[in-house]
């Protein structure tokens, strides 16, 4: 049997607006993926620990609070410390083009989606990039 794509969908930080995260979780499920949904107010440590235990290929992070330049690099750093460099990290939320560029170029975030992003594009990106760097 082919390995299923496993995705962790989480909301780091303190904002409680999780509709976007739920819509994404549902779309990924409908594309045949297994989505571990951990809910709101997750610390970077909780997210990375969950990613490790659940052995996910992808982490999808939704941030609307504006704290993305603190939280996303912290998550990337913790993933690296745990040896989880092969996990694809995708972010969504209110993130400026300039911040998005820095996150992708300097912190290993694979893609950043803002308002108006097409669900189809997000699902397609995840399907094409999930697990490609995995050795097993």
């Amino acid at each position: 049997m082919a390995r299923k794509i496993r995705v962790l969908v989480a909301k780091p930080g303190l904002d409680g607006h999780d509709r976007g995260a739920k819509v994404i979780a549902r779309a990924l499920r409908d594309a045949g993926m297994e989505v571990i949904y951990t809910g709101i107010q997750q610390t970077p440590q909780m997210i990375v620990e969950a990613a490790l235990q659940e052995d996910v290929d992808v982490i999808g992070l939704s941030i609307l609070s504006g704290a993305h330049m603190t939280l996303l690099p912290k998550i990337a750093q913790l993933l690296h410390e745990q040896g989880l460099d092969d996990v694809l990290v995708v972010a969504g939320g209110i993130i400026s083009d300039e911040d998005a560029r820095i996150l992708m170029e300097q912190h290993g975030i694979a893609a950043v989606y803002g308002p108006g992003a097409s669900m189809h594009d997000i699902v397609k990106f995840v399907q094409e990039h999930a697990g490609v760097e995995r050795d097993s």
Partner: protein, 311 residues
């Protein structure tokens, strides 16, 4: 085997990878399981089942916190249903298990049922073995939201806890066959709600009708409010009593034998299917399915042919 060695020496990463491997199945999975098998058999394995919304995840979380305070390590497998239409799943049990986050004595793994209808996944038994071999003293399996037929859990674990909430059915629901028959312990959760006494009364009167499964163990009926961690100590004590009961006589040996018999049967089924598929080839297999659909051949004869080729 490198992965097996890392898993046995306590690597959480190796354990996580190992569970993915057994979920995928095939030869690498079998190699891993055979390499760790001698180190299994030490954990006490608990099943938690009940209807959707009865409070399974919250109760599992509260029990795990209780056992952690007592110094025991806890592995959790939380099963949620796979969509029969897309093959995808949303696994949401971790939401209620946040208080366990960051504790190195706990390992939580979400698992999709992947088409199995018994309340657990095909690989749940294998994942139990991996957690057991990795040294977790207690392993808790939370089933998908279960109704009257999801009874497979009972043969995969030592102690089955059936969780009910008030107001979910009349007394005829309580005497039907199904998950009520597999309970070693009943928990009426959300016991601060109206109707808890009625639920307890109904369960008690059902139990007086007798149990097909046990002769000398009467399942206790316990109240809990898992959200506030009320009644958890009593449930843990009942689990301990049940464990002592199993160890006291021939029960545990018989239970283990039945559990292993079931696992063994599944392993043989899977290996036979895999070998048959490999022998026949994907295209011929599909062609056979088409012929059956056109009623040119019946599925029983086709199965005999395929198995004859694979041996």
């Amino acid at each position: 085997m490198e992965l097996a060695d890392s898993l046995l020496s306590g690597s959480r990463r190796a354990l996580a990878r190992g569970i993915t491997l057994v979920e995928t199945g095939g030869t690498p999975a079998r190699k891993l399981l055979s390499a760790i098998y001698a180190r299994t058999g030490n954990a006490h394995i608990i099943g938690a089942t009940g209807a959707p919304g009865a409070g399974k995840s919250t109760l599992v979380n509260a029990l795990a916190l209780h056992w952690r305070r007592a110094g025991k390590t806890v592995g959790i497998i939380a099963v949620d249903p796979t969509s029969p239409f897309t093959g995808g799943a949303i696994l949401g049990d971790r939401i209620r298990m946040q208080p366990l986050s960051g504790d190195p004595g706990v390992f939580v793994r979400s698992m999709a049922s992947r088409g199995r209808l018994g309340g657990i996944a095909r690989a749940t038994g294998d994942a139990i073995d991996l957690l057991d071999a990795a040294g977790f003293e207690i392993v808790i399996v939370e089933t998908v939201g279960a109704g009257q037929g999801e009874v497979e859990i009972a043969s995969a674990v030592h102690t089955t806890i059936v969780i009910e909430a008030p107001g979910m059915g009349d007394d005829v629901q309580a005497i039907k066959a199904g998950i009520l028959e597999i309970a070693d312990i009943f928990v009426v959760n959300k016991a601060d709600r109206e109707g808890a006494d009625t639920t307890i009364r109904q369960l008690r009167s059902m139990l007086t009708l007798g149990s097909a499964r046990h002769h000398d163990w009467t399942p206790p009926i316990l109240r809990a409010v898992a959200m506030r961690e009320e009644g958890i100590g009593e449930i843990a004590a009942a689990v301990e009593r049940h464990r002592a009961y199993l160890h006291g006589g021939a029960q545990l040996a018989e239970h283990e034998r039945a559990r292993i018999a079931r696992e063994f049967q599944l392993i043989v089924q899977e290996a036979a299917l895999e070998r048959a598929r490999a022998e026949v080839g994907a295209e011929a297999w599909e062609a056979l399915v088409q012929r059956i659909a056109r009623r040119e051949i019946d599925p029983y004869t086709a199965a005999d042919e395929v198995l004859a080729r694979a041996t």
